[in-house]
Symmetry: C2
Subunit: 84 residues, 2 copies
């Protein structure tokens, strides 16, 4: 089962990487970009029996720094809904 985890910086946390991307887009002459935030995407291939709470624990212990980052877990059913 493929699971996607989105790790994003919390609001208010400075994001120099996002700022750099924003500047680069502007210097490449792309218009209409108001803000850029950079985050991480982690794709896990886990056994089908893996519970939500196990995955949440992985995020809290290792994948995200919950002091400054939020995480979101996307399961295969969500992916199907997105692609429909």
């Amino acid at each position: 089962m493929k699971i996607r985890i989105f790790v994003t910086l919390k609001n208010g946390v400075l994001d120099p990487q996002g700022k750099a991307i924003h500047h680069a887009l502007e210097s490449l002459d792309f218009k209409g970009v108001n803000d850029v935030r950079a985050g991480k995407l982690i794709e896990l291939d886990v056994d089908d029996g893996t519970s939500d709470s196990d995955i949440e624990k992985m995020c809290e212990k290792l994948l995200a720094n919950t002091v400054i980052e939020n995480f979101e877990i996307e399961r295969p059913t969500d992916q199907a809904a997105r692609e429909a």
Copy 2:
């Protein structure tokens, strides 16, 4: 309009970051993880009129290295479908 861009390594491209996360999960005693791939998530806040082709150009020119990476664009309608 908030747009999310997922940048992932193509199949076959070595992913040392993903491997390191995999090892770390195992040493933290999480079972049932078969594979980990690390990617990037870029959130753009763009003007409502921004076309798909503009966003694709941003990905091809700056956000993704299309030699080794794939990108996926998620628009707000996709996000609504995912959350429904």
